[in-house]
Each structure stands twice: as C-alpha cells, then as structure tokens.
C-alpha cells in the first residue's frame, strides 16, 4: 500500500491508499478521483491519463517508456515531468507520491 496524492488542476487534493502493483492511473480511476480518463485502459496507447509528477518524485517514478514518450509527444501542455500515469506502478517506495492533473486530457 502507498498513499498517492492526486491534485486536480484547480488544486483539489485527493489522498488515496493504492494497492501495490496497481498503476497510479488505476489508483485514481478505481477510487473515483476525477481528471484522469484512461480511454485505452492502461496500455500507453492514448494520452488521457497524463499527469505531472512532483519534481521531488521524479527519480523514484523512473523514466518514460518508449511508447509512453511517443504518445506524450502528441499530448497537450507536456512538461519535462509529464508522465502517463498508467505507466507508473505503485510500490511502497512511492508512498506519498504527488501527481497533478493537466487542465484537460486530450
């Protein structure tokens, strides 16, 4: 279990206990946290689970996969800390992770 902090674009915070092995995307969708669409269901095949990883957590969350980078290439308002949340697997090491949502998923 890890607590993931989801921050909506307007600043609303949602702290969720997320099961190990789930993705950060699943932690939001399965708990009804708004702001993540996840149209493809977690295959890095769209870009509708786009989040910004808090800079303090960049090392712990790792690098974008090739396919993820390819999809983020076409997303809107991509920053250096942009990730597809379906590609970040929750582990105890991510306890306290903060991710922020973009204004809209595109």
């Amino acid at each position: 279990m890890a607590t993931i902090v989801y921050v909506e674009h307007d600043g609303t915070r949602h702290e969720q206990q997320v099961t190990d092995g789930w993705s950060v995307m699943e932690g939001a969708v399965k708990n009804g946290v708004p702001g993540i669409d996840a149209d493809c269901g977690g295959a890095a095949a769209c870009a509708t689970c786009h989040v910004y990883v808090d800079p303090d957590w960049l090392a712990a969350t790792g690098e974008r996969t090739d396919q993820e980078a390819e999809m983020l290439n076409f997303a809107e308002n991509v920053e250096s800390n942009s990730r597809l949340s379906c590609q970040i697997e929750v582990t105890p090491a991510l306890d306290g992770l903060v991710v922020t949502m973009p204004e809209s998923q595109h």
Partner: protein, 426 residues
C-alpha cells in the same frame, strides 16, 4: 440483451444464415453492400469467435487479413513499426492491369509513419487544442441554436441534410478559414473522396478525378492566399507557415486537405445522425437522458462506440510476423475492423446494446489507439455535446419515421439520409 434484440436473434435471419453457411476461408467481411444493408455484423460475430485473425484470399480489394477483436486491434494499432500506415489506411480496389494511379504522389499524415507523420500531425493539432476548442465552443453553440430554431415542426425532413451536414460543415469551414457560403462544397468533396465510382455519389473514375480537380484548385487558391499573408490560425495557414509542412509537394498538401476534410466532417456528421437514430431506437435510454442530463458526456461516448463512424483502418506488414498464431507475411494487408472491436464482449459488456450510462463509456476503439489516434476527438465530442444540449432545451422528442439510408462503404459507416419528425417544441 434486450428482449427485442433476443427475439430478433432467434427469428429467421438470412444475413446471419449466409454468414454462417459460408466456408470460413471464403468469408469476405469487406463487401460494402453488407454495410449498406447493416448486415455486416454476422461476419464479424463469427470471425471474433472462430477466426479472430482471418485471411480473405479473394475480394474486390485484393487479399487481406482481418483483425476483429478489441485487444488485437489495439496491439496492431500501437505497433507502427510492424504495421505501417503507408501507403494508405483505407481499403481500395487494386488497379486494373495497365491502369495508372491518377493521383500520383498523394500523401497525408494519417498514411505516414513516424517521424514524418509526427511533425505533420503536430503542425495541424493546434487547431483542435483545448485553447482553440474554448474559442470554437460558443460559435458552434450559436450555429447549432440557429439551425435547430429553423427546423420545421410537425413536418418530415432529412436530419442528415438539415442538421448533421450543416453544423459539421460550418465548423470545418471555420477551421479551414473558408467563406461559410462554400461550406457544403466540403460535405460534397468529403463524400467524393470516400466514394467508389458507380454507386451514387460519382459514376466513373474520370468523373471523380474531375471533381478532385475543382477541389484541388479551390484549396490551391486558399494556400496561395495564406502563404503570402501573416499567419491567421486556420488549418490552411498553419500548413502554409509551419516549417514541417510549408515545403510540402502540392499532392502532399492536397492529401492532407482530404484527410482533414473527411476526418473533420464525415465522422462527426454520421455520429450526430447516429445519436438521434440510437436514442429513437432505444426510448428507455432517451428517457434516462431526459431525466438526467448529466449523462450527456457519457451518451456522447456511447454513441461514438455504438456508431463507430469509421469501420476500419488498414495497415501493411513491414516484415513477416506471427500474430495470434497466424503467419502474416511482409507487405500483406492487415485490416483492423473497429466496427467489430466495438462489439467484442470480452472487453465491452452487452456490446450490441446501446447503454448511455455504461461504467466505462470512453472505453471504445472508434478513435483508434497509438500515434494515429484521432487528432480531432475532442472537437467531435464537443460538437455532439453542444448539439444535444441545444436539442434538449427545445424538443421533447425527435421521431425517426423510416429506417435511414446507409452509406455503401466498408470505411465510412454512416447515413445518406434519415427522415425525422419533431412533433413539438417546449
């Protein structure tokens, strides 16, 4: 499945019988007449169950593989290294012996692979960015309101012509920076692009080429106006000024114009008609929507799934590859049947039913996945959302009075016309 649907499945059904009586290796799901009659479903139902990756050796479009299950389609869609979009993404009849291609050099970014695809797509994507959609929203609403206010009450009319074509053509004309009075040229050209000669829209290949010449000349003039002016923010201006596209060949420019014409108009047009049709066929769902308008975004996604405005996308294998136990050879044609993936009950519960409050309505394959995923998907959803918000302010019901006339195409899944009556206003 609803009782009515179950009864229909049990009743005599020549289309179903034909699909199941054909030897599997002779099954050809591409026949456009099946799509015109809305009878293609049985082939796909059978293929998903018996041969989810299936080879048709002979068809009007040459030999091809069919991929019919949702997850397999997604796997092909995202593997652009193995399954190339070049030279084209729509099934076309092969050239007859001695025949030469009449649009040599035609290219469009949907039919390109990375990296060239990426830079061209990025050149046009600002037109449908969240910022631009915020600007377009009020304009679409104003136009939708005017169109709906002008509809006859208690009198039969064609919803396709009066609403779906009008509104989507207005939006596309704005995106292209064209005069509004020319908007219906776009719907016509869009239909010509995807039409097979001899079936209504155009009679011969020569006639089709003649119309293309007018279409090309029109957009060449737009380009010439934009390229010599300051950037204006419309699609043509973006293409004429972006470093990635400003040096395109004329045929590459024309190809991209075709892509944006069909992608920007036809798909939304047909889903808009489909939404009225589906709600009319499913009065319980219509009642649900009227009782809870917050279901509108979910209804829009469900309609996009249910309609599947493009039935397929085509790929070409770049190497010999084993896929789901089948040996696909280099240069084989691989067709992803989106229309079938959206009816795959392994991924979508009760897929034949239209259910506007599904648990995950955005889980559909109509926009495709991977780098070619529909660039205008949010604009499509916005137009559908707005038109329904405006409909619900005005009309308690829209009655479809006859089965719509469907497009004869295995690519565009849509409606030529649909007669409706609006009995009264609020």
């Amino acid at each position: 499945m609803s009782t009515a649907a179950t009864a229909a499945f049990a009743a005599a059904n020549p289309a179903r019988d034909a699909a199941y009586a054909t030897p599997l290796d002779k099954l050809d799901p591409s026949r456009p007449e099946l799509f015109a009659a809305d009878e293609m479903w049985w082939n796909f139902q059978r293929l998903r169950a018996e041969a989810p990756v299936h080879y048709t050796a002979e068809s009007a479009y040459g030999p091809f593989w069919s991929v019919t299950k949702y997850n397999d389609i997604m796997a092909v869609d995202i593997d652009h290294q193995t399954f190339s979009s070049e030279p084209g993404i729509m099934m076309v009849p092969p050239l007859a012996p001695g025949e030469t291609p009449q649009l040599e050099g035609l290219a469009m970014f949907i039919a390109m692979d990375p990296p060239k695809h990426d830079v061209q797509r990025k050149a046009v994507s600002p037109a449908v960015s969240p910022t631009n959609l915020q600007i377009l929203g009020p304009l679409i609403r104003e136009r939708a309101a005017a169109i709906l206010d002008g509809l006859p009450i208690g009198e039969e009319f064609d919803w396709v012509d009066k609403v779906s074509m009008e509104l989507t053509a207005m939006t596309l004309a704005t995106l292209f920076g064209m005069p509004q009075e020319d908007r219906r040229k776009l719907t016509y050209w869009s239909d010509v692009v995807t039409a097979e000669p001899g079936h209504g829209v155009v009679e011969t290949r020569e006639q089709k080429m003649g119309i293309f010449r007018d279409y090309h000349a029109y957009f060449t003039q737009l380009w010439n106006e934009r390229v010599n002016a300051e950037p204006t923010g419309d699609l043509i201006s973006m293409l004429a000024h972006d470093p990635a596209t400003r040096d395109m060949s004329p045929m590459e420019y024309f190809g991209n114009v075709m892509l944006l014409t069909v992608g920007g108009n036809d798909t939304t047009r047909n889903t808009m008609t489909g939404s009225v049709y589906a709600l009319s066929k499913n009065p319980d769902q219509y009642a649900k929507l009227m009782a809870d308008p917050s279901l509108l975004p979910s209804m829009v996604s469900e309609t996009i799934r249910w309609q599947t405005p493009l039935s397929h996308m085509k790929r070409r294998a770049t190497r010999d590859v084993e896929f789901r136990g089948q040996q696909i050879k280099k240069d084989d044609t691989v067709v992803m049947w989106y229309v079938s993936g959206n009816r795959d009950d392994e991924v979508i519960e009760r897929p034949n039913d239209y259910i506007i409050d599904r648990a995950r309505p955005r889980q559909h394959i109509s926009f495709g996945f991977g780098v070619h995923r529909c660039v205008g998907n949010r604009l499509a959803e916005l137009q559908l959302q707005i038109v329904w918000e405006e409909i619900m302010k005005r009309f308690p019901e829209i009655n479809v009075v006859a089965e719509p006339k469907r497009v004869r195409s295995n690519f565009v899944k849509g409606y030529e016309s649909m007669r409706v009556v609006i009995p009264r206003r609020y």
